[in-house]
């Protein structure tokens, strides 16, 4: 069987380029320009999947985004992607697709048993069946639902493709390149507006490609090509095909999904597969067209049932017949266009028109062509399981609620047309409350909330002449108000056939005693009876009916089912559709791949990587990295076969014994200038700052207004009105915002400016008993004695020609200094220190050794300042001034903060002096107590004390002040450990702080 349903001529496909592809493992041939759907139909393939709930055989129904059934699992470049609409994927060499939701095969599907058990699968089935017992949820029900409810299968492979994001700004975004889109874009472009014209399909023109019309004596297709080529030449216009605007967000932010790679046989390197566009448009023109409405009848989901416009599109665009013996079932003139197209291609259709015999240009043309027409007729039920074989049709009685007579006729396809539904999804997303238009039985946009206009069929205008006139005018008016230009455009002459009035008939009645399934929503398998059940059970709000029955949900978003569902609810409730209202239209309008939403922000590109000027030195010296926010910091420098524990112990010990060097560039640095700087610091920090002399540093703690410690660090007075503040690496950004808030909003009268200088200064800490000797060699011209440069002293020096700032501050508890130079000289400084420090046994140390040093000294850091501790808790109450006011002070008088047994930081040592205590362990009195075992505190930081050669931890413990000497258990259910510990002072080493001052 090779392309037996391909017409010999016609269509916009490239017959010179056959393309081989696979479907369910079998090879087929199509042409360049085909979609997967048109190529399969050319090969006579209709059965392409099983339905969601009942596993009924399903075939193609539409030709584009309207398609509810043809969701495929598609293999692309070794990746498997589910739920791709076969009507939207372009045929490329090597494409391989398979059916979903069927096992073991689409032809023999075990799940189809559901269809025969369908009385057990009524509306709300999931809610009713899986209520109890509770314990069945995760063991029985959930796995079953997951298996039964799945559409395709998500790939477990890493996506190797490239996706990109793009930001654009324009005056006008035009969504859709049908007549309305082309006319409005053209008029606006002529006025010089910056325009983006987006078309979802590969071909521009929309209905102009399939409708039998002329514009200025050109065919619709030729006219659209002429306009597009003119637009492409204009520098103020971006024209994009394969691009679906799928979301309308606040302040005219539109999001568009562009398929850039999948249609290419060989994708050039670095060409993304798909691209996400964020477009901020001053005005949006919605020319999204309309989607044909089905008419509901028995077994209307049988493969071979199509929308009539889709059947026409397959003939006119792809040269494919969807059947050779079609019934056209219509309530309006559109069906006749399809019938005429069949006839022109040598196929004899039969038209069933629900209306009484009448005349119109189209009907008369069909009559002249000898097309068989039965007026006042409807399809009652389609016969055939995997493909339509025949249909029972009937003559409608006067009220169209029953049939006067019925007959069965042979057919291989049924094309339905129930009139047109404007595609109002984007308008609705914009906040536009829709209104019901009686003359077309559908919702159309009403007043705009944002700057948007709907044009053409999307606005319920179904004639070409009116569409062009309104669109040229709107494009012109809207752009004129932006560009102030007014280029007059001649509205072209059109030639189209006039329609007669459509019939409101939307659902074939059931003959007495018959119980055919009549589907409203194919994708979600919602039949008329399901909605009736929901209403009988008392669901009234359309939003509830939607959720209970799943009508209009999932990828389809009710594109073909929405109005018929509303019509049904209205009929049962004896209301009219506008009283029922409509459900909310949500983005995305069509499915978007997760890859596109993620874009390039994946893996190491998830956020920028910050590197210090000494990064490459660390790299060369076997640094093992740790992430500190966006920064990369050396965790330790690996020597030989050392592990983390061995290396960090060696590095920390070397600091205690000799001297070590640590890259502290990542610490937040804030430059503070202005005559009120001292007063400002005095308000920000808990301790006193007014009397800090020039050339001195001071340690400070800042609180939030609720009394919780926000951050700590040292601030140095560089000159009279100039301070240098340091923050922790983690809080740098927050502290800057905090300072700016108080300066700009709370105390604008203070004359102070703050600016981040984190990246301007490179920092190296040198720590250990030999650090002064080293410093003296680095700065031979400076007196670095304890008297000249005491603890918390500051001095400026010349480091071999480079201006350096020297701070005598210590985080390790050892005699230590921090040297800052401008970032460009960071590496120079580092290498000089290493070179000169060699004679003092200098070694670089990473964050792990840094932590060890500060923990055994009892210095608090991030794990203790965790947003839950006040100064008392971390033994910083000595830094809280009683005399002055500061941010957060008023909160410290709270009763809970002053309880006698308030939590406090303590030290912990395991009784066995061997077992390391996992951070996060809970402290309990009795490890065997009945659950819930009262928690007394938690372990915040743990290290191996190099000074005492045993494990040591810091903990925040209830009534910590009075717990010294007590024995507790540190239990970690995560690590399955329970360690008996002794509580002691948090200062395990040098608790008098002699070393830093010596």
């Amino acid at each position: 069987m090779s392309q037996n349903f391909r017409l010999n001529t016609g269509g916009l496909i490239n017959r010179d380029k056959p393309i081989e592809f696979k479907f369910n493992g079998k090879k087929y041939i199509g042409y360049e320009g085909d979609t997967l759907a048109s190529a399969l139909l050319a090969n006579g393939i209709h059965l392409i999947g099983r339905s969601f709930k009942y596993h009924r055989p399903r075939g193609f129904f539409g030709a584009g985004v309207d398609e509810p059934n043809a969701k495929m699992q598609v293999e692309i470049n070794g990746c498997s992607e589910p739920n791709i609409n076969a009507t939207e994927i372009e045929l490329v060499d090597g494409l391989s697709a398979s059916s979903q939701n069927c096992w073991p095969s689409v032809n023999f599907d075990i799940g189809a048993i559901n269809n025969f058990l369908n009385r057990f699968f009524p509306a709300g089935f999931y809610y009713k069946t899986f209520m109890w017992p509770k314990s069945f949820w995760y063991r029985v029900y959930e796995p079953f639902i997951r298996k039964a409810a799945g559409l395709g299968i998500a790939s477990l492979e890493k996506d190797k493709e490239r996706y990109e994001h793009k930001y654009e700004y324009c005056d006008l975004l035009v969504t859709g390149s049908g007549p309305a889109g082309l006319a409005s874009a053209y008029a606006a472009a002529k006025n010089g507006a910056k325009i983006i014209l987006a078309e979802d399909k590969p071909r521009y023109g929309g209905t102009l490609l399939t409708d039998d019309v002329t514009i200025d004596n050109l065919s619709g297709k030729d006219w659209s090509e002429k306009i597009i080529s003119e637009l492409k030449e204009m520098p103020n216009v971006i024209v994009k095909n394969r691009s679906q605007v799928f979301g309308y967000y606040d302040h005219n932010m539109m999001v568009m999904f562009e398929r850039t790679g999948d249609h290419l046989e060989k994708k050039p390197k670095y060409t993304p597969r798909q691209r996400l566009w964020y477009i901020r448009a001053k005005e949006v023109l919605l020319s999204t067209g309309s989607i044909e409405r089905p008419i509901v009848f028995g077994n209307n989901d049988t493969p071979g049932v199509f929308l009539s416009a889709a059947a026409k599109e397959y003939m006119k665009v792809y040269g494919v017949l969807i059947g050779k013996k079609p019934i056209i079932f219509t309530n309006n003139d559109s069906g006749y266009e399809t019938a005429i197209e069949f006839k022109k291609n040598g196929v004899n259709p039969i038209v069933l028109d629900t209306r009484e015999d009448q005349n119109s240009e189209l009907i008369n043309e069909a009559k002249d062509l000898d097309i068989k027409i039965k007026f006042s007729y409807a399809v009652i039920v389609a016969h055939g399981y995997k493909k339509v074989k025949s249909a029972t049709i009937g003559k409608l009685d006067k009220d169209k609620i029953d049939f006067e007579n019925t007959e069965q006729i042979d057919c291989d396809s049924i094309c339905v047309s129930g009139f047109w539904t404007p595609t109002v999804h984007l308008a609705s997303q914009s906040g536009n409350k829709l209104k019901f238009n009686d003359s077309i039985d559908a919702f159309v946009p009403d007043k705009s909330k944002q700057n948007e206009h709907s044009l053409g069929a999307a606005n319920g205008t179904f004639t070409l002449q009116d569409t062009l006139k309104n669109s040229f005018n709107t494009g012109s008016e809207v752009s004129k108000s932006i560009t102030k230009k007014d280029e007059k455009i001649q509205i072209p002459n059109t030639n189209e056939r006039k329609y007669s009035a459509h019939d409101k008939f939307w659902c074939s009645p059931l003959p007495k005693g018959k119980n055919y399934k009549r589907f409203v929503d194919f994708q979600n398998d919602v039949a008329v009876s399901d909605i009736e059940v929901a209403l009988r059970e008392g669901y009234r709000s359309i939003e509830h009916v939607k959720r209970y029955t799943t009508l209009g949900m999932a990828t389809d978003q009710g594109r073909t089912s929405n109005l018929n569902g509303l019509q049904l609810v209205a009929n049962v409730e004896k209301k009219i559709v506008p009283q029922v209202g409509h459900t909310t239209f949500r983005p995305p309008f069509t499915p978007v791949t997760i890859g596109t939403i993620v874009g390039r922000e994946i893996g190491k590109e998830y956020m920028p990587t910050r590197k210090t000027p000494m990064h490459h030195w660390h790299e060369k010296n076997n640094a093992v990295w740790v992430d500190a926010g966006a920064w990369k910091r050396p965790r330790y420098y690996k020597r030989g076969n050392e592990n983390l524990f061995e290396a960090s112990k060696r590095e920390a010990k070397n600091v205690r014994d000799h001297v070590g060097i640590c890259d502290v560039t990542t610490l937040g640095k804030i430059d503070i200038k202005g005559p009120d700087s001292a007063e400002f610091l005095n308000r920000v920090y808990t301790n006193a700052w007014l009397k800090l002399p020039v050339g001195k540093a001071r340690y400070g703690v800042m609180l939030r207004e609720d009394g919780i410690v926000m951050d700590d660090g040292t601030t140095t007075r560089i000159s009279e009105n100039h301070y240098h503040m340091t923050t922790t690496t983690a809080q740098a950004a927050n502290v800057l915002s905090h300072l700016e808030y108080y300066l700009q909003i709370v105390w604008p009268e203070l004359n102070v400016n703050v600016v981040s200088t984190t990246e301007q200064w490179a920092g190296a800490a040198i720590a250990g008993p030999k650090s002064r000797d080293l410093l003296a060699k680095l700065f031979p011209k400076i007196d670095v004695s304890n008297e000249a440069l005491p603890f918390m002293g500051y001095i400026e020096g010349d480091l071999f020609g480079v201006k350096a700032r020297i701070f005598r501050i210590s985080f390790s508890g050892e005699l230590a200094y921090e040297i800052n130079v401008e970032s460009d000289f960071g590496l120079f400084m580092w290498e000089k220190i290493i070179e000169i420090g060699e004679e003092f046994n200098i070694q670089p140390y990473g964050t792990e050794a840094l932590s060890t040093l500060r923990i055994e000294m009892g210095h608090v850091a991030g794990p203790e300042l965790d947003g839950r501790t006040i100064p008392y808790d971390v033994s910083l109450e000595g830094l809280v001034s009683k005399k002055k006011d500061f941010i957060g002070k008023r909160s410290l008088v709270k009763e809970a903060f002053n309880k006698a047994d308030r939590q406090k930081i303590v030290g912990l040592v395991p009784l066995d002096r061997k077992s390391s205590i996992p951070e996060g362990s809970h402290l309990v009195e009795n490890k065997n107590a009945k659950l819930p075992n009262p928690k007394l505190g938690h372990v915040s930081s743990s290290c191996w004390s190099v000074e005492n050669n045993n494990p040591f931890s810091l903990a925040i413990l209830k009534d910590g002040k009075n717990m010294i000497g007590k024995k507790l258990f540190a239990v970690s259910p995560l690590k399955n450990t329970s360690i008996e510990v002794e509580v002691m002072s948090s200062h395990y080493v040098d608790h008098e702080g002699k070393r830093v001052r010596s």
Binding site: R280, K449, L736, Q744, R890, S891
Partner: protein, 86 residues
């Protein structure tokens, strides 16, 4: 994503800004005698109005200025943006 007009820089995308909460809160003066209740109101209690709301935004990826925005919390419509002293 909102489009916010920084009073110093002009129209920018929301991505450049950080939200700063209620813009009508006044911090009590330093050293001011104040009841527990008043202080707690200042620290913790915020209204969550439906409709027009004056709020603070911080142009963190721009000029680093804090400013005020009058916005409708239901529609996200922004009526005006202004410098804190205005």
């Amino acid at each position: 994503m909102l489009n916010i007009k920084c009073p110093y820089c002009g129209d920018r995308s929301q991505k450049e800004f950080a939200y700063g909460g209620d813009g009508t809160i006044t911090r009590p003066k330093l050293n001011q005698e104040i009841s527990d209740e008043e202080w707690d109101n200042f620290v913790y209690l915020r209204k969550s109005p439906r409709g027009k709301h004056i709020e603070l935004w911080h142009h963190i990826a721009g000029c680093r200025q804090w400013f005020k925005v009058e916005r409708d919390t239901t529609t996200h419509e922004i009526f005006r943006t202004f410098k804190p002293e205005e």
